[in-house]
Symmetry: C2
Subunit: 229 residues, 2 copies
């Protein structure tokens, strides 16, 4: 039994041997998009710290992705690196952002148009990483039609059709604890495999579904503990 975040790695569906990189107009596989997103996070931080070039070896140390895999991921999109010098950080950041913005296209459905939901929906970080909050739901009928970030609030009854039409891969629950399990059930029924739970509910889901439980306040307290002791 483990405590803290209840998270089980999503099972099945390995990457095709050629990394799943098709023509640019195809959508990137989730695995590739996720790795590119991780490189982008690290590169963005490197850039902030004034680092101008980075080698695949360094990227490997920071991301814990095998450096051969990194070079393969990045080679599929054209030449970014110079042998012996490494990749230009600025250039790589722009290129990866561009690729993720155009070919990432992995969609998020958000539940809860309260403060936290609005904070998440209006974050422009997602777009850089190829993820989009394409649908927002709230059980308050008064909020239907309201603009939240890039989306308009819809009724929870539309969940199933939205998940199908928009090919939702992640459901985010920024809702009161009492509402979370029912929404999780609906997401699971609709075929969504990854759920981010910002409530305090301990969600019951089938083994092939991943639940990540977190919240800004809990994270803050958890980190405080490590800084104060």
């Amino acid at each position: 039994m483990s405590f803290g975040d209840v998270a089980t790695k999503a099972g099945g569906g390995g990457l095709p041997p050629n990394d799943g990189l098709g023509p640019l107009s195809d959508r990137l596989s989730l695995g590739v998009a996720a790795r590119l997103s991780r490189y982008l996070q690290v590169l963005t931080q490197a850039r902030k710290m004034g680092k101008e070039t980075i080698s695949s070896q360094e990227l490997s140390e920071y991301t814990h992705v095998n450096s051969t895999q990194i070079r393969r991921d990045l080679s599929g999109f054209g030449k970014f690196g110079k042998r012996g010098v490494g990749y230009n950080v600025d250039s790589l950041v722009s290129q990866i952002r561009k690729i993720l913005r155009t070919s990432g296209q992995h969609n998020i459905a958000l539940f809860g148009a309260g403060h936290l939901g609005k904070a998440i929906a209006s974050s422009d970080i997602f777009a850089d990483h190829g993820f989009r909050v394409v649908a927002v739901f709230d059980q308050d009928p008064g909020k239907i039609g309201e603009q939240v970030g890039p989306a308009t609030v819809r009724h929870v009854d539309d969940l199933r059709s939205v998940v199908d039409e928009e090919d939702i891969v992640v459901g985010v629950l920024a809702v009161p604890t009492a509402a979370a399990q029912e929404l999780a059930d609906k997401l699971v029924d609709a075929g969504v495999k990854i759920i981010f739970n910002y409530s305090e509910a301990l969600l019951q889901v089938p083994p092939e579904v991943t639940v990540h439980t977190s919240s800004p306040a809990v994270d803050l307290l958890y980190a405080l503990y490590f800084y104060l002791t």
Copy 2:
């Protein structure tokens, strides 16, 4: 050089040999409050999972705090445990919450009365852990006087006096990136040693100050990477 969250452990100020436990009417030291808060997080999760009793050894495994230290922390507040059986989870949760609510009293100043700031300020988790958002600041004059969670929005010019009067131990920055460094400077000048940074700014602070950088969107993307690869 390390990437990701830029966090340096707060230096100096060790705990007195008797754990800093004074009479209950005294405020708990930060170290003790932080450990109790950590036990409470783990115990709350244990309770959700239906666990009725827990031993100091188990608590030690989950929190990574030495079990002798745990027994010492908990013994100072009266008998919670039964030899051979362990502590009653429900009872321990109530007792620790009560202690933290009355003797925790560690205060947080929040900057930014936008969506994320409001989400953090209105979280009732802090109170259980003995932390209180006692002050909220925003640079928009139109927001001064607005109620945000348990506090009223004040002008940033009041920062110094608020930090002194309210004995602020943590500053939380839920502000646009461009505004973060200036606020961090003000917090540091006022003597605050721990800063939670929800912006994308890479903050420059003196070595004795701890900065924890995070944001719901970044955490979501980071976790997604691990679930998808």
